[in-house]
């Protein structure tokens, strides 16, 4: 073991050495800094988001406990029991049309609130007194709308709006509500008072009403027991679900976790590629100093001491870059806070913590250890004996059995550290496996090229000869170029291919096949009039109406789905909340049965079920299983009879769950309709809403354009982030090139003496890069196509079709290639005009 004095010496020596040779170490510092910065940004933003949610969990839930009674209100008895525990607020949510008397309508998430809403936090409006004014009973009831509605209908305060045949006046614009919902943040959202809602005299049957109650109990010593009392009150009521603040924080936390996990993986990819640069830089650093190392050995320094000094230097660089990266990262929430839409009502605070720094530094340390071990263990192979013979053999990365065990151990720690911190463990683990596999593949790609060139016939062209010699030489740049650029490029290509395919589906294929308008909330007696009204608008239009009722999946063979289906199951959405189910006498035309039989003995006593085959497979349902559905609050058991292949993009009857019609006749139901015609959907929507005020007409083009807007934003962000990996790769390549400039200078001088001119050398350099890059692209594009194909056709539930876009591929690969090559030329600028004199001095 080393004593304190020795450590002090190593410290002093390392500091002095860094001061004198920082120019050679900048690559390590820069790549570490960039990748640690990304990691630190991710961690800080995630931390402050979680802190904010944690601190506001009651506001986000809207109370100390939320009681969700579904489509029916709670009974008066229950409300009385609850009010003994504290203050209650009742809200009703449902989707309906908001229409402007002068034309134009939007399908809106409407919330009716009572006088005490919100129990926690505050609703912010524009103008700011609109919320107070909203409570006052005026001549006309008041509606508050969000910005999306305001923009779509071009409304201003004081304008009139029709909701369910009743006239409302716009009181103001909602900036944010404390209990965040999807539609408040991204969609169309409006608030009316409970009294105004009661005027609608809606019965819950068939309508998608959703009643929520929130309780606020005084913060006294029996607070906890009151919450428990409220929970036990509904423990045996299967139609009522209760939710605590921590649950709402949890579900948001999961969303944040998913996104931050993606960022983490990108960051760690960048770090690992930076690691390749560290390994390469360190090795060449050691080789440049092999004389000094040999001298130290001749003076009696052990290899261990020398290794420690170099490792210590790297640790100092790590310390400096991680502190800087962490400080910048910690401040980032302030910036990110500006980017979050006001409707989220979140404000992020930077939070400095030693633990947060330790987290970053630990990951940095692991990566640095992993990538410096093979370089540092080349030091024992530098022999002091060479000082007597004046011959120095360059050393290479050293992988002894012991080193490999160390490396595997460290890699396992690194991977587990990320896997254990996320809820998407399988995905994260697979990403790491794929990442390491691609590193091997891209190393193999370089080796392939080298082997091919070795066996290729010799062309009578000097540029080609030089390029081929450079690539096949022992110090070939091919492996480092393919590994450091390959993974980043593949990541970028994969993400771009996925987004490109989705965009094409959304802007092309889906609108072609899908209906223009969906009609929901069509009562039995409205179906015929609506159908004839629609055909009067356009006799050529394709319309289809299906009966439907809302139901939720409860259990499979008496085991609750909740316990059967994992969080990352792609069909999980089917078991969450209410789904629309339908029935027909015959199997739907464009839903072929792929397994089982359509029912022959249709009886009113027994429910029979038909499912989408993809969903059934994901959820582990088999033909003959007993499935429990909750229909309008009543649990019904049915037998699974067959699976259909459903393409949701088409107009027609596309329901994930269908039941037998004889059984369905007993249920109170309504109709859902689809409409496709040449007429503008804007116009059709307005006309229908004016004629049938209680029917909701949902425009598909609006939904699609919203989805594509969102996706554009997400994919721009995601691609920008994955660009970091490419940038790091470029830095690593540039540093590798710079390390080689000296050797290349010498070669070029010899070529010059042999009569090869400058332009040939330039051509050779270009050809060398083009050969390597082309080989790399073939594999990158191949891998990205495969990965995006799997994502598009296998992972997305809707049957999307994958296609290849040559233009996009060329744009991305050529631009990456050109930029990389420019950097290489820049790094090489001294190489082309080697001065003869330093070489004569035998340096």
């Amino acid at each position: 073991m080393l004593n304190l004095q020795q450590w002090a010496y190593i410290h002093r020596y390392a500091i002095r050495d860094i001061r004198r040779s920082y120019k050679k170490l900048w690559v390590i510092a820069l790549t570490l800094f960039i990748s640690l910065l990304l990691l630190s940004l991710t961690f800080s933003v995630k931390q402050s988001l979680n802190d904010e949610i944690e601190a506001n969990s009651k506001e986000l839930l809207g109370g100390d406990i939320q009681i969700d009674s579904g489509i029916d209100p709670l009974s008066g008895d229950r409300i009385k029991q609850l009010s003994n525990l504290g203050q209650i607020s009742e809200t009703v949510n449902f989707f309906t049309m908001l229409s402007k008397p002068s034309g134009g309508a939007v399908f809106t998430d409407l919330r009716a609130v009572d006088g005490v809403y919100p129990l926690y936090g505050e609703a912010k409006t524009m103008p700011s007194d609109a919320w107070a004014a909203f409570r006052l009973e005026g001549e006309l009831p008041v509606v508050l709308i969000n910005e999306n509605i305001q923009n779509q209908l071009q409304l201003s305060v004081g304008d009139e709006l029709t909701i369910m045949s009743k006239i409302f006046v716009v009181g103001g614009v909602i900036v944010s509500v404390p209990d965040l919902t999807n539609s408040a943040a991204f969609g169309e959202f409006a608030i009316i008072s409970k009294q105004a809602f009661d005027q609608f005299e809606l019965t819950s049957a068939g309508s998608f009403l959703h009643y929520d109650y929130r309780l606020k109990t005084p913060q006294s010593s029996d607070y906890q027991s009151k919450i428990e009392d409220a929970q036990t009150l509904f423990a045996n009521d299967e139609n009522v679900r209760t939710k605590l603040p921590k649950d709402s924080a949890q579900s948001l936390g999961r969303l944040i976790d998913n996104f931050s996990n993606f960022l983490n993986l990108v960051a760690v990819s960048a770090m690992i590629i930076a690691g390749i640069g560290i390994s390469n830089t360190l090795l060449s650093f050691i080789n440049q100093r092999n004389t000094s190392i040999a001298i130290k050995k001749s003076l009696g320094f052990s290899s261990k001491t020398i290794q420690l000094i170099y490792f210590y230097e790297i640790l100092i660089i790590l310390l400096a870059s991680s502190i800087l990266a962490y400080l910048l990262g910690v401040l980032s929430p302030v910036l990110v806070s500006q980017l979050i839409p006001a409707s989220f009502g979140l404000s992020l605070q930077p939070s400095f913590s030693l633990l947060g720094y330790a987290n970053i530094a630990f990951i940095g340390l692991l990566v640095v250890l992993i990538f410096s071990i093979p370089s540092l263990y080349s030091i024992p192979f530098i022999k002091a004996a060479s000082l007597f013979r004046n011959i120095f053999q360059p050393v290479s990365l050293h992988f002894s059995a012991k080193n490999i065990v160390y490396l595997l151990f460290l890699v396992t720690i690194l991977v587990s550290y990320f896997v254990l911190q996320t809820q998407q463990q399988l995905l994260t683990l697979s990403y790491f496996l794929a990442f390491f596999a691609s590193m091997l593949v891209f190393y193999g790609v370089a080796k392939c090229l080298i082997i091919i060139l070795r066996h290729a016939p010799n062309l009578p062209n000097n540029a080609y000869k030089i390029a081929s010699r450079n690539i096949t030489s022992k110090k070939s740049l091919a492996p480092i170029i393919t590994i450091s650029l390959g993974i980043g490029l593949t990541l970028l290509l994969t993400l771009s291919f996925v987004s490109d395919n989705l965009k094409k589906e959304i802007s092309g294929s889906i609108p072609d096949m899908a209906p223009d308008i969906f009609f929901v909330g069509v009562n039995k007696d409205e179906k015929e009039p609506l159908e004839s009204f629609l055909s009067s608008l356009d006799a050529e239009a394709v319309t289809e109406f299906n009966p439907m009722v809302s139901a939720s999946l409860v259990a499979l063979n008496s085991v609750p789905f909740e316990t059967l289906v994992s969080r990352d199951n792609r069909s999980r959405w089917l078991i969450q909340g209410d789904r629309r189910i339908s029935w027909l006498d015959h199997p739907p035309k464009d839903n072929p049965i792929v397994e089982g039989q359509w029912w022959q003995d249709d009886s009113a006593e027994q429910m029979l079920v038909s499912l989408d085959s993809k969903n059934a497979k994901d959820l582990g349902i088999k033909i003959g299983d007993e499935i429990t559905l909750s229909i309008l609050g009543r649990e019904v058991n049915g037998i699974v009879k067959n699976f259909r292949q459903v393409d949701y993009r088409t107009i027609g009857t596309n329901f994930a769950i269908m039941i037998n019609s004889a059984f369905a006749q007993k249920l109170p139901y309504e109709y859902i309709g689809t409409f496709k015609s040449e007429r503008s959907s804007d116009e059709v929507q307005s006309l229908v809403v004016a004629q049938f005020p209680t029917i909701s007409a949902i425009r598909i083009d609006r939904i699609l354009s919203k989805v594509s807007q969102m996706m554009n934003k997400i994919f721009i962000a995601v691609s920008a982030i994955s660009l970091v990996v490419i940038v790091i790769g470029m830095i690593v390549i540039v540093s590798a090139v710079m390390v080689q400039t000296n050797q290349r200078k010498y070669n070029n001088l010899i070529y010059k003496i042999l009569g090869v001119d400058f332009s040939t050398i330039l051509k050779a350099t270009t050809l060398e890069f083009v050969l390597i890059y082309l080989t790399l692209i073939i594999f990158s594009v191949g891998a990205a196509s495969l990965a995006s194909y799997i994502i598009i056709e296998r992972i997305f539930i809707v049957g999307l079709q994958w296609s290849f876009d040559l233009g996009l591929t060329l744009m991305l690969t050529v631009s990456t290639g050109v930029v990389t090559f420019l950097f290489i030329l820049l790094a090489n600028r001294n190489m082309f005009s080697p001065a003869a004199y330093p070489l004569i001095r035998n340096e």
Binding site: A8, S292, G300, S302, S303, A385
Partner: protein, 222 residues
Amino acid sequence: MKQSVIQFSDVRLSYGPSSNPVEVLKGVSFSLNSNEIISIVGPSGSGKTSIIMLAAGLEKATSGIININNQNITELGENALSAIRRKNIGIVFQSFYLIPNLSALENVLLSLEADQKYNGDEEAINLLTEFGLGHRIHHLPSELSGGEQQRVAIARALINKPSVILADEPTGNLDEATSENMTKLLFAYTRAQQTALVLVTHNNELARQCDRIIELKDGNIA
């Protein structure tokens, strides 16, 4: 009683595959006492440098025993050999071999630092001053002449008061006047410090000034 610093007993050294070895040393035996100065002479390729490397523990003998301060070093591992080198042996090379980014003083101190002596500044400055480099102590090797560089190298070898200095043609890269100076310095300080010296040289004049001459011929002592 005189102590033996280096003792070679029937040392053989060969390179290459055992089926077709290049025999460099074919059973060399000699011993060197403390405070003794010997020279090793012989034609090029006769194995002079090989003997130095073996004595420094930088090469493994194929067979035979090598004792340094009565300790057999032939079976020692890398770390133990490092320890022997920093305690007992100073080496002077033909091409000086100073570390380029360290000053003259720092190069000399390195020798002490290898042996965990961290307060040798004064001692090192004194030695360099005695060597006539008082005005050069903070200069980098690239700013020194060949002769100055070799004086720094000798100071580096001497500073730790080793039992023996191994010098392989230390003046091979210097002009005649400078080499004479250098040799005087080396002789004077090894004698003063009671340090033994092995001097490999092609210069017969120089060899004659030593206490003893070992002449190598075809891998044997003639």
